[in-house]
Subunit: 301 residues, 4 copies
Amino acid sequence: MNYGSELKRVYEACLPFVGEGKVADYIPELAGVDPRRFGLSINAITGGTHSVGDANVPLSIQSISKVLTLAMVLPHTAGSFRRVHVEPSGDPFNSLVQLEYEGGIPRNPFINAGALVVTDVLIARESNPKQAILDFVRMLADDSSIDFNYAVAQSELATAHRNRALAHLMRGFGNLKADVETVLDVYCHHCSLEMTLEQLVRAFGFLARGGYSWGREVVSPHIVKRINALMLTCGFYDEAGEFAYRVGLPGKSGVGGGIITVLPGHFVLGTWSPGLNPKGNSMLGMRALEMFTENTGLSLF
Amino acid sequence: MNYGSELKRVYEACLPFVGEGKVADYIPELAGVDPRRFGLSINAITGGTHSVGDANVPLSIQSISKVLTLAMVLPHTAGSFRRVHVEPSGDPFNSLVQLEYEGGIPRNPFINAGALVVTDVLIARESNPKQAILDFVRMLADDSSIDFNYAVAQSELATAHRNRALAHLMRGFGNLKADVETVLDVYCHHCSLEMTLEQLVRAFGFLARGGYSWGREVVSPHIVKRINALMLTCGFYDEAGEFAYRVGLPGKSGVGGGIITVLPGHFVLGTWSPGLNPKGNSMLGMRALEMFTENTGLSLF
Amino acid sequence: MNYGSELKRVYEACLPFVGEGKVADYIPELAGVDPRRFGLSINAITGGTHSVGDANVPLSIQSISKVLTLAMVLPHTAGSFRRVHVEPSGDPFNSLVQLEYEGGIPRNPFINAGALVVTDVLIARESNPKQAILDFVRMLADDSSIDFNYAVAQSELATAHRNRALAHLMRGFGNLKADVETVLDVYCHHCSLEMTLEQLVRAFGFLARGGYSWGREVVSPHIVKRINALMLTCGFYDEAGEFAYRVGLPGKSGVGGGIITVLPGHFVLGTWSPGLNPKGNSMLGMRALEMFTENTGLSLF
Amino acid sequence: MNYGSELKRVYEACLPFVGEGKVADYIPELAGVDPRRFGLSINAITGGTHSVGDANVPLSIQSISKVLTLAMVLPHTAGSFRRVHVEPSGDPFNSLVQLEYEGGIPRNPFINAGALVVTDVLIARESNPKQAILDFVRMLADDSSIDFNYAVAQSELATAHRNRALAHLMRGFGNLKADVETVLDVYCHHCSLEMTLEQLVRAFGFLARGGYSWGREVVSPHIVKRINALMLTCGFYDEAGEFAYRVGLPGKSGVGGGIITVLPGHFVLGTWSPGLNPKGNSMLGMRALEMFTENTGLSLF
């Protein structure tokens, strides 16, 4: 497979659609992003890294960071993880409803409530959780320049009414141990991470390599299987089924317009286009990924 | 991979658990099944068919049949299928709730409401839909002895209050064209199909072979990708996430205790044990499948 | 209180609004009603009967009939009525959702599901339930000419998809004893009753008179209290709170545009205007009733 | 009517049941209340005040205070109150679900979310809202000794996780103007008010007297009608229908075991027994009130 030419073919077929979708505008830092940014980058196990378009411009990775905190936490939760379920949320509305019906146990670690619990577990394990997150992602991407965007984190914190509601509700159910504001602070910081597509596909390489990053086992194959399964069933909010149906790869999107996907044993493929569809996932990103898997026949299924 | 010895290893490790779970008892025909039935059968692309245990005893395939009717209908629905969504249901309760909130469009083709719509589409296409289903499954399994169990179909029809409720609700929304009783009749018959595990893994071979069955293309690779994706995200009711997380294979379960799974390009693997867990999926079947994928490392992820 | 002049005052103040709202059009018989029909009629304990406008034109009483069947059944259900709750439904959507969450027990006897159970109880008690209903309402109104509109009943039966769904769901839960079609037949007939406003306020007189009708105790004061309480809390679907807040009288509306209200110890007051508001209650009727209670100070509160 | 002897009759018939129900124990101050406290007090328009049992022991009025803050706010909200609905909540679960489905507008002013909005309106109107509440209740009860229990208020604030969740959610929807902690502080203080039954029935006298308290109009009859209607349809959480059905009086309960009821034009009747039923309303209080209205025939209906 000539990954480079396949990427280029998809990129060019997508150019007429650049700018489609609606850029997230709930905080000024995201609203100001150029809606015409578009890039793809692939990190192939047998074939190196290839990129087209805006693959070296930093983007706000937002919810994509939830995969990283999960990878930090999951190996240390013995047996099944009783504080978060592993089922798709399936709710067109916000997860507050399910959270209440189900006694404060979030549906999965990728909805906000679940990611807050993951952050809470991380806080209990790490003396300096924000630094630990930075260390982990810098190690994975082999790039010490990666950092939070502190202005984005502050804006998120100031407008996080709904996440505060989720956190207080879970605390009422006893499923949040640390102080609500402490959890939100760490959470909003890891969501504010800025990385380029090339840094992202490097950092997520361990999910295509059975847990290995730069020759070292970061997590076991057993954990990789679970993370990839969760990305497939829960990585795209209530559009996870649609993404599996059309693209057929485990993946995770962020409201900044980034998407990271994995074909275990083969590659990590990332896209960036800030315009979102009504379900909050990058419109052009999903289009490009569907095209790539349909053209190449490379998908899970 | 020596599939035969791997199957045997799983089978023996599972023997102490034979009989676990609760046999479905809402109709006498299912209630009377021996709870100690247990078998595994694999149809490997490069490695032939291997079986252990009760692989040649007919079982009531029930909801597993929904994959077959979907495969008959999906190639003929141009573009996206607007009468059924492709999202996990995510509802711990019955789908009636979501069906109402979402205007009579079922969440996916594997919940009962969705399968009723698929059956409705089939009825519109076929002059003799029940015979067409028999022809299709006999062709796939290369076995003309496969038949409905008419007593099971009649029992299901007599107790199908909730399916009638679903069907009338969808008819009220205009999402069912044929008469409710006609749809239920065809639906209850295809659910009553009796097949052995060996017949099942043969019949589902096309989902591991890019759509080919006995050297002939039954459906396109494009359709195979979609069916396998749907089995992964929606094949186990509200336990689909758990199944993906623990087993990591597309699959479909039936209330008769059968489970069919697929690793595209590799194999079809079926299990049968009538005892169900509280979510309605075969308890020992899930245990055996998790063991198989953990032992062999063979899963999607 | 000069009821006659108060009615006239309200009637005249309402004339500019005649025709507001949307006439029910789901069956041709209702769709064909003149949207400008408007009348009021009062049956006062100390003050006789007074009417203005279309008080002697038959209207389709529809859900108002649910009060009558409840009055036939309630005295014979010993102790609390375990097959129907007595709580407001509070659901902006249809009651199917609650019915499912709450195990097939309808929220109250005035939502469709609850009225179907009441009808089912009636069927178990009466050898000829439709005739028994006619006998009861003719006795109450002292008018043997009152009858079903059989064409309306047939149209309702033909389009009752959602009520069929409700009935089959309850049957699945064991909360419907008679055959679904039998229940729907009796239900659609009692909803098709045609009465004039003057017949209606006479028929409902027993709810203002502690259970007495034409000098004879029809139901006990104990039952009257319960029926009036139910009309106040549940008589207007999910607008019951609004009706209590603005009008302050127990009442029941029908999709034909009729409303019957009661001030116990004082009067029965009925209105008719076919135009409905988005919640399915007569728009001008609610306006007239609010005006009447605000002008006169006559309400429960 | 000899109110004194009727009260005594009910009191004696209830004595065998003293201690039934479960005392609220989510904060130590409530958990420590003697479960055998039991009292009744009536303030009759034509007949003075009568009491039996613990009518002069202070109780924590809790949610009963929501009627007082509503009475302070309602006259000043021109036209309909767009920030709170007036419908029963009808949800067996907490109102968080409905609050989310309905865009942050609480179902009614007596569920916690609605009372928080009422408090928010009060904060916008008053420079010292806590003092204004004290002034209002002291004036109504003609007793300057009434005060908050500051220890109770602090305990409530420390455990108010779910109310914080509600408040942050509403703030996210823009339906809370003041700072969340400010609103909670005022809210928890008014809930901590301590009053005896005799103080309570005096304070609520204006709802039986068309808005007059000690000869002065506190609110208009128009507002009284609305408050009483709201108490009838929404005063007992998801047991409002049951209370109207069995007791037939507008009323409001508190988790401290107090209940206040009103028969407009006749009396205010209060009960206190700390044991709650599973829906959170005083078990013996409801029993006593049903007995009183059944014995005397005095109810709305």
